[in-house]
């Protein structure tokens, strides 16, 4: 379940302070998102790719993300050029498919891929607990951080709960088919999961109160910056600075 969010790596990137990685991923993404020049976008894509290679990210994990993204980008390429004015490539009546539109769609696609690569290498390599803590240390809104951490925590439980319920149904001879009985059963199982989740959230709140919770979370671990983190920050800063200079300098 969590493997969708987390990329397991076994390289230096895993030891870099999560805060530094979070900020790097953020800066890189923002820069690429606002960049307008092709050479900046291409250089950004290339450097994101280099970072991925240097961190030895597992190709299988990256592939899933990139395929998902590029299916969407393909749809964009089919649709977007019809709405951008410019020199006509094809037309159907009054509708025109333009070269400028294709260029814009391609630009969005390369940007998107570069950002996904950058997020994969900088942020997906942080385990969820550290990500939450890094966000909190960086003064992200506390409510959002806790929402995030609880979501991660209870996604797994809900997943298990649904599996348990479906297993219990199967144990009594339930086999999904396309009939009314199946729909009725599945809707009841889903309803049960929702009711149980609500109940559970109330019990968890009770358990938190029972241990003296009054609206504040405390962090057990503190991060500390080391030499390797400083080097990492400098490297990323140089890349970001060069890209920014190419764009606006």
């Amino acid at each position: 379940m969590t493997s969708l969010l987390l990329l397991k790596v076994d390289s230096v990137i895993g030891n870099i302070d999560p805060r530094a990685r979070l900020v790097s991923g953020f800066l890189f993404s923002v820069l690429l998102a606002v960049a307008q020049k092709w050479e900046v976008i291409a250089a950004g894509f290339l450097s994101a790719f280099l970072f991925c290679a240097a961190a030895r990210l597992p190709w299988s994990g990256l592939r899933v993300r990139l395929i998902g993204l590029n299916v969407f980008m393909l749809a964009l390429l089919l649709v977007m050029p019809w709405s951008v004015p410019g020199s006509v490539l094809w037309n159907i009546g009054n509708w025109t498919y333009t070269i400028e539109g294709v260029e814009l769609a391609l630009m969005v696609a390369v940007k998107g891929n570069a950002i996904v690569l950058a997020m994969s290498v900088f942020i997906s390599t942080i385990d969820t607990a550290s990500l939450g803590h890094a966000l909190e240390h960086l003064r992200a809104p506390r409510r959002l951080v806790h929402l995030f951490l609880f979501t991660v925590r209870y996604l797994d439980i809900l997943h298990h709960e649904s599996r348990r319920l479906f297993r219990a149904a199967r144990a009594r001879g339930f086999a999904p088919r396309t009939d009314l009985h199946t729909y009725r059963t599945v809707s009841r199982l889903i309803g049960t999961i929702m009711v149980r989740s609500l109940d559970r959230s109330e019990r968890v709140l009770a358990a938190m109160k029972a241990r003296g919770y009054c609206g504040r979370f405390y962090l057990l671990h503190h991060f500390s910056l080391r030499m390797s983190d400083a080097l990492f920050i400098m490297t990323v800063s140089v890349f970001v600075a060069v890209l920014a200079w190419m764009e606006w300098g």
Partner: protein, 218 residues
């Protein structure tokens, strides 16, 4: 005469429109007493434990705890700091990602300084044979391991009263004995719900049976 920590006066608790689970229940919990709470399924044992720390929003009657009559949620904040409640389902109790974070949650809420929290986490885990579990992910533990960690989250706060709901459920023989030893050695006031008669006989010296929402001393 020993100090009365909890005093229930005609306590009635119901869930929604259902018939009450506890009906005009009156009882005292005296400091230092060690009580086993028994009763059939659905007789209100868990409800009673929750009610004692003010987790049943709706109750009729009066509840005295640690020197005061308590009514609102805010009245109970102090009670919850001084009485540790172990939930029946460890999945309800553990909500942090790692074991050490979960054990540290209560002590932080007590306002202890960081060093003291860290020491309490380490010592409690060691006492419960959980050293090395610090960075384990709570939801990936087995049922018995989750139970032990839940117990650690309560003991780490060093409460004056322990309200334990089925503390031995899912524990293997060795850990049941370990828990038995820890409870026997502590001088804390105990109210324990359990279906394990040997365990109750070993850690408590009085038994209360809940029957039709009332307390019967055995």
């Amino acid at each position: 005469m020993s100090e009365v920590l909890f005093k229930l006066n005609e306590l009635t608790v119901r869930y929604g429109n259902e018939p009450p689970v506890l009906r005009n229940l009156s009882m005292d919990l005296v400091k230092g007493s060690r009580i086993g709470l028994v009763g059939r399924n659905g007789s209100g044992k868990s409800t009673l434990l929750s009610a004692l720390v003010g987790l049943m929003d709706d109750f009729d009657g009066e509840l005295w705890a640690f020197g005061k009559w308590r009514r609102d949620d805010s009245d109970f904040a102090e009670v919850r700091r001084r009485a540790g409640l172990l939930f029946e389902d460890p999945d309800d109790q553990l909500f942090n990602i790692t074991v050490s974070e979960d054990v540290a949650f209560g002590p932080f809420n007590l306002g202890w300084p960081r060093e003291r929290v860290i020491t309490a986490v380490r010592d409690t885990l060691a006492r419960l044979d959980l050293s090395g579990y610090e960075e384990r992910i709570t939801y990936r533990l087995s049922t018995g391991e989750k139970r032990m960690v839940s117990i650690a989250t309560v003991l780490a706060m060093d409460p004056e009263v322990l309200l334990l709901d089925e503390p031995t459920a899912g524990l293997d023989h060795r850990h049941t004995r370990l828990l038995e030893e820890i409870l026997k050695q502590s001088s804390k006031t105990l109210l324990v719900v359990s279906h394990d008669r040997d365990f109750l006989a070993s850690v408590t010296n009085q038994t209360i049976q809940l029957e039709n929402g009332q307390a019967v001393y055995l």
